[in-house]
Amino acid sequence: MAAVGERAPDDVTLAQAAVAATRAVPGVAGISRGRYALARTFGLGGTVVEGVQLTPEPEGLHVEVHVVARLVPFPALAEAVRAAVAAALAVRGRPVTAVDVWVDALQGDATDATEEERP
């Protein structure tokens, strides 16, 4: 938990942490914006983090992460992403109740790779 007097991290900081943790997982080639619905986290001043959506719940955060994966076993990849995201957000004082992992594309799928590179 955040210390007394210390500001709790905002959603954008948490989403950026989740993105960084996800990218660090072996087998994740990148972050996708979402195939059928855009996953975004909005912050103040028009800041947007794409590919991660945070939903506050009474027990903690429900996180949705959209990834572009390499050709690795997806169930194991998803478990690794879950563990990494939960650890990254727990360090920032926000417990995670669930992490939904969406494999939106594979590395090598040109269309999705192009979309991912957009700011």
Binding site: R35, A78, V101, A105
Partner: protein, 193 residues
């Protein structure tokens, strides 16, 4: 062309349905030629109706049975033609141990199957469609095979490669891989720019 064929098929079925209903009506006495004339005053049709109305008693059950069979067949055909085929779900839920779901689109699985198939020697072009079937996957695959490839080995190898890759990546069993292989013409069309 496909739309035109379907429209023609629908018209044929509707005509068969109408003919069956009128025949049943005429044979059973619920309809008369005069009533048919009010709806469609076309001499050949009226001539046929007149003949049907005056069928010998011995023949009537056969004609009635045939008309009922035609009615049922046309209704079945119309129902099959007009009801949309079941749509494939967009997302596949993968088995997950932790809190949270793991999902991927079937489109991604199609791409994965096609990507794996392109690694098989002799396969020049491939389209695949992955579908769920009782906690397992089934794949329908349409491949163009090189005329110089051995079709007897390329087909089974393609099936095995797709099944292995999908199982390895998703963790789900692959029940069937149905491959429809077409040999690529030797003189393929060339596009000059």
């Amino acid at each position: 062309m496909n739309v035109l064929n379907r429209l023609l098929g629908l018209l044929l079925l509707v005509a068969l349905l109408a003919a069956a209903v009128v025949t049943i009506g005429l044979v059973s006495g619920a309809l008369t030629t005069a009533q048919v004339q009010q709806v469609w005053p076309y001499p050949p049709v009226l001539h046929v109706c007149h003949d049907v109305e005056r069928l010998p008693v011995r023949t009537r059950p056969w004609v009635l049975g045939g008309a009922i069979a035609a009615l049922l067949l046309s209704l079945l055909g119309l129902w099959r033609e007009l009801t949309p085929p079941p749509r494939r779900a967009r997302l596949l839920a993968l088995p997950s141990a932790g809190p949270g779901r793991t999902e991927m689109s079937y489109h991604t699985l199609d791409v994965l199957a096609e990507h794996s198939a392109r690694g098989v020697a002799g396969i020049e072009q491939v389209r695949a469609r992955v579908q769920p079937h009782q906690r397992a996957l089934t794949v329908r695959c349409h491949a163009r095979v090189s005329p110089y490839a051995n079709l007897a080995t390329a087909g089974p190898e393609l099936e095995r490669t797709i099944a292995d890759r999908l199982h390895q990546v998703t963790g789900l069993p692959v029940r069937t891989v149905r491959v429809r292989a077409v040999v690529q013409e030797e003189r393929a069309r060339r596009r000059v720019r």
